[in-house]
């Protein structure tokens, strides 16, 4: 199961000794509460010049295999207890710390998930890259800095001479990740270990980084161990794939084979939970994810949800919403610049409908969600809930009407008060709004827990006893307690594992069908959005650039930004791997403006019924 016979480009793989051979690796974590077998008898190989993806969800042990290879396990808790790690024939496990220090950064290099925190904030970027060269190649400072400039150009950072002296906080996330890559590749390592390097990045930036890694791999001829949970990314980058679950490798092989013909039930359930962009073409309404039985590997046939949308008066109507934040600075803390977070946004949501707001960081979707809930007061505009403007109500009336819209947040770990039991949390909206007595509330909590797929006796437990997916279900139960008409879901599934995400989305669709709930679904994940939405609004720099029914936006995108966004989404289809996409190397612009900036007048164009797009200026034409 070595070379992929379908490869048309890429380096020739000779049946040589593998660059990396992990054999029966076992890593255990020891604590006062016992032993955790985080990595259990795992084996995989990477040939020279090949990319292997290790895919899995959280708790699978995939990152720990990487840390084991580099000897970076947290001491004294983590230890490799068995197996061999052969790098170009040499076993790394018995090496001392001193010997490993010569291997790290030199023969094996690693890049991590969070570019925002992985660079030292008090040292310049140039200094941090030069360090590796000085340490392993014994270059003088001058020679090292010359090399640094070359490296910065290699990773396509413009204006490298100036950037050398920048500090990390002066760079964006995408640029920092490029710096990390430059640092890793400086000594031309034989193996690059990439631990979720694009997960924390926006989707267009993610596409750029993936292209960069693929290009550099070919140029340098190195092997890559790519760890990720995103099957779309796996399909794009990997020659071969190993799927991990619960510390073991459950399936391994050529990426093509894994995707076309998954054998193990876990692999099947994982792949079925991955939304594929374009899979919804031909379906008019949102569709559930197929549920695969983990034991048998058999899948059910997902059906479209029923008709839930009612015509007539919309649940909410947002008109001309504008929100700006002042940034102060200087000697007298005067207003220096403004963030135009939301600029003249208007939309409406029908009862039983799901409208998604999509966009990348800084586009204003979260701020819009908060304004709709009146968790913050926007500068201008109105939010009509059943005809009344929520933004103009006085406190008493606000607290009364607020029941009709509820919100679920992104971080299931932070949304629940750690000191309240789950039952108290779910009952709180009822108690606070005096909608039920304590006894009634107690009963209702039991019913709600069952509705979201949990059990009533769980009400006595505390949030920290539950997993992320379960906590999100609890948050949904809490939101449902007051029988709202609309739920604002602010990136509510983004922080969840792939399979858990699918389960929670299925739950949300079920609830919508049963209760005719409307959702304002805020997300950056285009593939998920395609699955759940009736209508979609694409946001950029605080404005809606295109809005319309889901089939129209995904099937017939008009605005260049929408097209760019769709092009950047990794598609879990290995056949498309060698199609080089036109990726512009632009940064995402920020909505930060000068104080005297006046937003331009916008003109809208109707493409078809319900589908409108904003007219765009010449700056969009200049790009891809």
């Amino acid at each position: 199961m070595l070379a992929d016979p379908h490869k048309t480009s890429g380096p020739e793989v000779e049946p040589r000794q593998p660059m990396l051979s992990v054999e029966n690796l076992s890593t255990h974590f020891f604590s006062r509460d016992g032993v955790m077998k985080v990595v259990d008898d795992v084996s995989y190989k990477i040939a020279p010049g090949e990319t292997l993806a290790v895919a899995g969800e959280s708790g699978s042990g995939k990152s720990v295999t990487a840390l084991s290879i580099l000897g970076l396990l947290p001491k004294p808790a983590g230890r490799v207890v068995g197996g061999r790690i052969l790098l170009d024939g040499r076993d790394l496990v018995p090496l001392s710390e001193g010997e490993m220090q010569h291997v790290r950064g030199n023969e094996v290099a690693m890049i991590f998930q969070e570019p925002m925190t992985s660079l030292n904030p008090v040292l310049t970027v140039g200094d941090q890259i030069a360090e590796v060269l000085i340490r392993h190649r014994r270059l003088s400072r001058k020679a090292a800095f010359e090399r640094v400039r070359e490296m910065l150009e290699l990773v396509r950072i413009p204006d490298s001479a100036r950037r050398i002296n920048d500090y990390p906080h002066e760079m964006s996330g995408g640029m920092r990740q490029r710096v990390m890559i430059a640092m890793a590749l400086a000594c031309k390592p034989k193996l690059l270990v990439a631990d979720e390097p694009t997960t924390a990045l926006d989707v267009t930036i993610q596409a750029q980084i993936i292209e960069l890694i693929k290009t550099l791999q070919q140029e340098e001829g190195m092997s890559v161990l790519f760890i990720t949970h995103d099957m779309g990314v796996v399909a794009e980058v990997a020659d071969r794939t190993a799927v991990m679950y619960n510390g073991k490798v459950v399936e391994q092989g050529a990426t093509r084979d894994i995707f076309d013909n998954p054998q193990h039930p876990y692999t099947r359930s994982l792949l079925s939970a991955v939304p594929r962009l374009g899979a919804m073409a031909g379906h008019r309404r949102p569709m559930r994810f197929p549920v695969v039985d983990r034991a048998t590997g058999l899948s059910d046939i997902p059906a479209e949800t029923g008709e839930t949308v009612s015509p007539g008066q919309p649940v909410i109507e947002v008109k001309n919403l504008t929100a700006r934040f002042n940034l102060r600075g200087g000697l007298f803390s005067s207003v220096r610049r403004r963030v135009h977070a939301v600029e003249n946004v208007s939309f409406s949501v029908q009862p039983g409908e799901t409208l998604s707001l999509v966009g990348e960081s800084g586009c204003g979707k979260s701020t819009t969600g908060r304004s709709v809930m009146r968790l913050m007061q926007p500068m201008r505009g109105s939010v009509l809930l059943d005809g009344e403007d929520l933004l103009k109500l006085d406190e008493e009336a606000l607290y009364d009407r607020r029941r009709r819209i509820q919100m679920i947040f992104q971080d299931p770990y932070a949304s629940l008060n750690p000191r309240m039991t789950v039952g108290e949390a779910i009952a709180e909206p009822l108690i606070v709004n005096r909608l039920a007595s304590r006894a009634d509330a107690h009963r209702k909590v039991g019913e709600l827990l069952e509705q979201v797929g949990l059990r009533p006796e769980m009400a006595r437990r505390y949030p920290h006893e539950f997993s992320g997916g379960q906590r999100q279900r609890i948050c949904i139960a809490r939101a449902l307690s007051v029988e709202p008409k609309l739920i604002v879901a602010d990136e509510s599934v983004s922080a969840l594992d792939v399979s858990v995400k699918a389960q929670v989305i299925n739950l949300m669709l079920d609830l919508q069908e049963r209760m005719k709930l409307a959702y304002l679904f805020i997300s950056h994940d285009m593939a998920v959005v395609e699955r759940v939405s009736h209508r979609v609004a694409v946001m950029y720099l605080g404005e809606i650039v295109e809005i319309g029914p889901r089939e129209a936006i995904f099937g017939n995108p008009q605005h260049p930004y929408t097209k760019r966004l769709l092009a950047a989404v990794p598609v879990p289809d290995p056949a498309r791997r060698f199609i080089r996409r036109p990726i512009s190397n632009d940064e995402i612009r920020s909505p930060l403006r000068a104080v005297d900036y006046v937003p331009p007048e916008r003109v809208w164009r109707d493409v078809s019924s319900g589908h409108s797009v904003m007219d765009w200026g010449p700056e969009w034409e200049a790009r891809a």
């Binding site: 008060n417 750690p418 000191r419 606070v432 949990l454 949030p463 920290h464 809490r478 594992d497």
Partner: protein
């Protein structure tokens, strides 16, 4: 997302059993040691009459400066007073002052800190005042306040509490500002919580643990400052035995009768040490749990 399977708790797992005190103490040895020592000191001080027959202020000119013996376990001072009983009774002052200061400073600090965190207009005023108070060394401020009025335990408590107040206010304020940004507070507001209930149910319960740790350390500092003030002559009035007093009165005799200073000093050091160890232990106990829960 962490790779460690920390809470992949299956829905059917039973609730962990409630373990006993012994288990708790074994897992948190610092709390056990600090708390235990402190408890011993509290018992011997509060129940001093049970442990000694001598009156701490009774003078006995015939027994001056006697070294420790079977009758006087810690010896006698220059007035013939039994040092053992003086040491035990002296502990009462330290405990009383220490606990009172911790309570007063913490309660006042919570009020001021909450006001500061919630009412923006008061924030600047309160914080500047606290900055000013912090700029003056606590001993100096306490000494200066003691010199204004007649010495009494109440005055000491107030003086020391004022010097420790800024620390609590800053802590409460930063905690409040931090917690207000937490998602569950936003969620609570979205549900319909108004400010009083928000404070009561969501904010205060999450402030309490760090405050308990802080209060413990204030307890220790208060004991030390009271002893220092008494040592300098501006603390507890001399007719009430306090460790600082005892040491101050006998310090000129340190060369010929070191026991007059040794024992009160030892007790003082041990009590402060016990409280500090307890505080450390509490902090370690409450911290990782907070991190895991949050």
């Amino acid at each position: 997302m962490s790779d460690l399977p920390i809470d992949a708790l299956p829905a059917t797992a039973p609730r962990p059993k409630r373990r006993g005190l012994g288990y708790f103490l074994r897992r948190h040895p610092t709390v056990a040691i600090g708390g235990g020592l402190l408890l011993i000191m509290v018992i011997v001080s509060v129940f001093a009459p049970l442990f000694t027959a001598y009156d701490p202020i009774r003078i006995d000119p015939g027994m001056r400066l006697k070294p420790p013996s079977a009758e006087h376990w810690f010896g006698t001072d220059q007035y013939g007073r039994d040092i053992f009983s003086r040491t035990l009774y002296g502990g009462r002052v330290s405990l009383l002052v220490g606990i009172s200061v911790a309570l007063v400073a913490t309660l006042a600090g919570i009020v001021l800190g909450l006001l500061s965190g919630y009412v923006r207009m008061l924030d600047a005023v309160i914080m500047r005042t606290m900055d000013g108070l912090m700029a003056i060394p606590s001993i100096l401020l306490a000494i200066a306040m003691m010199s204004i009025m007649r010495a009494s335990i109440t005055l000491i408590v107030i003086a020391i509490a004022i010097t420790e107040l800024p620390r609590v206010v800053r802590l409460v304020r930063s905690l409040v500002l931090g917690i207000r940004e937490q998602t569950y507070v936003h969620a609570a507001i979205a549900i319909g919580n108004r400010t009083p209930r928000l404070l009561r149910r969501h904010i205060l319960p999450n402030i309490i643990p760090p405050l308990i740790v802080q209060a413990t350390f204030i307890f220790a500092v208060a004991v030390m400052i009271e002893a220092t003030l008494s040592f300098l002559g501006v603390g507890t009035p001399p007719e009430i035995p306090s460790w600082g007093n005892i040491i101050a009165e006998s310090r000129i005799f340190v060369m010929i009768a070191f026991w007059t200073i040794l024992f009160p000093g030892l007790f003082l050091a041990i009590m402060v040490l016990a409280i500090n160890i307890l505080g450390d232990g509490l902090r370690d106990m409450l911290d990782p749990r907070l991190a895991r829960r949050m």
